[in-house]
């Protein structure tokens, strides 16, 4: 019943779609190895100089002194990376704990405000990040709280808690309620049931939620942009700053490394999900 011509057209369109998604990333990767510092779009020859420069090895690139000058500041970049990892780590821990507790509360207990909470927890995800960002900025300034790492972490947790909540809740919804009953029936107290049955059963969901929270926190630009102090620039904000000041070849190298990192994390996520089934 499949129409071969229609199917071929659909296949061509779809492959084109994936090309549209991936070609720009491939362009970056390609040009990160181009030695032409003036016009990156014109291929000169293969080089690792931009990576060397980024990793603070620029002085070994002696053939062209100009190139070292392009490297803005390796130290700054590494500091931004460190801040990003710290923020993402703390955010993940906090939002995973709060989100999981909320998911358990909303799916295992009956109470009047349940519907309200279910709706309310959607809001932080749906609120445009710019509104949340400036709201937090005004709030922190009004109460006299110094913009710092802490304010970024708080900002990220406001919406990532909801993400973790959604994912863990979906996992609980797919769980046989008789599992917890069986545990109680066999003599386990609520606490033992939580520790020995519910949490292990939810583990894939909790891990998935934590991974998502980590990735989004690492990548968040808008909220961080508003609530980061001058001394707490994260990696996306750092790159945003570089991009705003114009296209420079070392951005290609940073971007390529970030793309590679994201592929690794995505593969990890896929692996986690495939383990979920047993």
């Amino acid at each position: 019943m499949r129409n071969p011509i229609g199917w071929a057209a659909l296949t061509a369109f779809s492959l084109g779609f994936f090309l549209f998604i991936y070609a720009p990333l491939l362009v970056i990767i390609g040009y990160s190895f181009n030695s032409n510092p003036v016009n990156m779009m014109i291929w000169e020859h293969f080089t690792l100089d931009w990576y060397r420069g980024l990793l603070g090895l620029a002085e070994r690139v002696s053939d062209n002194n100009n190139r070292a000058a392009y490297i803005e500041s390796t130290d700054q970049m590494f500091k931004a990376l460190r801040i990003s990892l710290t923020v993402a780590g703390c955010t993940t821990a906090i939002s995973t704990v709060i989100g999981t507790a909320t998911a358990i509360a909303l799916s295992r207990y009956k109470f009047a405000a349940k519907g309200f909470y279910n709706g309310f927890l959607m809001l932080p995800m749906m609120m445009p990040d710019i509104v949340l960002g400036i709201g937090l900025l005004i709030f922190f300034v009004t109460i006299g709280m110094q913009l710092s790492l802490l304010t970024i972490i708080i900002g990220h947790c406001t919406f990532l808690t909801s993400y973790v909540f959604i994912i863990v809740q979906a996992r609980i919804a797919g769980l046989d309620p008789a599992l917890e009953e069986a545990s109680a029936d066999l003599g386990a107290s609520e606490w033992l049931t939580l520790r020995k049955v519910l949490l292990p059963q939810l583990a894939p969901g909790i891990l998935g939620g934590a991974l998502l929270a980590f990735v989004i926190s690492m990548d968040d630009l808008v909220i961080t942009y508003f609530v980061a102090g001058t001394d707490s620039t994260t990696l996306p904000v750092f790159i945003f700053g570089m991009v705003r000041r114009g296209v420079k070849p070392e951005i290609n190298a940073i971007a390529t490394m970030m793309i590679v990192a994201s592929v690794i994390i995505a593969a990890l996520g896929l692996w986690l999900r495939s383990r979920k089934t047993d």
Binding site: A184, L186, V197, D278
Partner: protein, 355 residues
């Protein structure tokens, strides 16, 4: 004193439409030690609610449940000396079979050695020796069922509660498990309370059957009593195939009542305490009839082949509903359209208490 005493148990649910529905509406039930009791009824009759009230997952609105004379109502499920085999088995997917089976001992804090010995014994009892290292996902449906059983008996409960545990198995395995369960109950010497909607299962396994409808108990009795002497129309129709006759008694003669239906079909019944002119509702099972030279004249309208037996639908010549009859299949078995005569032993006819 009975092991388990349930008195005036009442539990209401709020329906989605906002109404109230009594899942248990004044239930009284005793279960003796070492007894196999089956709660039988259509879905929504309250049998699962009753079971869950014993295990502690439902709280009664009124009434008491006592075990060995002690009131259970204040005890949370994990403090009650009863264990459940769940309909979905509810095996913990992240644990091995052995850890699943030993769970009750693990949470009690028993040491590893005692646990592994008890697990070995429990697995042996259900015929799963050597399967301890597997994960539940690697087992067949029948094996999972046995793991659930082993897990529920390891803690030596006073009563084992079984919530339609065989419903997910195919017919052959189900029949095999019915016999095994009965045997296991004998060896363990503990009471089983078994919930099912399958009347055949109930008849096969139980010492006593509790027939429930709409939150109330319709009849309690041995399988034979329930089948041969159903108390009312509901029990008669729910258990087995039934011919029901609405009769008026014409004449009483030497302990036999002569009665007729509105259409004029004449039947003889044990008279009991009935008087002439009384209305009566009589039950005759399809196997109570035999094909004979004389008796009720009827025309075969349908013949269903059941292997060794034939299941006949016969339209009485005088009119009225068709009578269902089982007959042995043979070359001489009547065909559709044949006129047959249906004979029966009047003593086999059972007159219902309530019409």
């Amino acid at each position: 004193m009975a092991l388990l005493e349930i008195r005036k148990a009442r539990r209401e649910f709020i329906t989605p439409e906002g109404g109230r529905l009594a899942a248990l509406d004044g239930v009284d039930l005793d279960v003796a030690a070492n007894e196999f009791v089956t709660l039988l009824g259509p879905s929504g009759c309250g049998k699962t609610t009753l079971l869950r009230s014993i295990s502690g997952f439902e709280t009664l609105d009124a009434g008491t449940i006592r075990l060995d004379g002690a009131d259970l109502s204040a005890l949370p499920p994990f403090r009650r000396p009863v264990n459940t085999v769940f309909q979905s088995y509810a095996l913990f997917g992240h644990m091995t079979v052995a850890r699943n089976v030993g769970y009750a001992l693990e949470v009690r804090g028993e040491d590893r050695q005692a646990r592994s010995r008890a697990v070995g014994e429990a697995l042996e009892k259900v015929g799963l020796t050597g399967m301890g290292a597997r994960k539940p996902s690697q087992l067949s449906g029948g094996q999972r069922q046995r793991v659930a059983l082993a897990r529920a008996i390891i803690g030596q409960p006073r009563i084992l509660l079984l919530d339609e545990p065989l419903s997910a198995l195919d017919r052959n395995l189900r029949q095999q498990m019915q016999i095994e369960l009965k045997t296991l109950q004998h060896t363990l010497g503990i009471a089983f309370v078994f919930v099912t909607h399958d009347q055949e299962e109930a008849l096969t396994m139980s010492d006593r059957i509790v027939v429930m409808r709409a939150g109330q108990i319709e009849q309690i009795g041995t399988p034979r009593t329930i089948y041969r002497q159903p108390k009312n129309r509901f029990v008669a129709e729910f258990i087995g195939e039934t011919n029901l006759f609405s009769l008026t008694i014409d004449q009483i003669d030497a302990g036999l009542a002569h009665a007729r239906t509105a259409e004029g079909l004449q039947l003889r019944l044990p008279a009991g305490g009935a008087k002439v002119g009384d209305k009566a509702l009589a039950v005759l099972r399809p196997s109570d009839f035999t094909l004979s030279d004389q008796g009720i004249a009827a025309t075969v309208t349908k013949a269903v082949y059941l292997g060794s037996d034939l299941y006949l639908f016969a339209q009485p010549a005088v009119g009225g509903p068709e009578i269902r009859v089982t007959a042995r299949d043979s070359a001489q078995a009547p065909q559709v359209g044949a006129v047959v005569h249906l004979a029966y032993d009047p003593a086999a006819a059972h007159v219902l208490e309530a019409a």
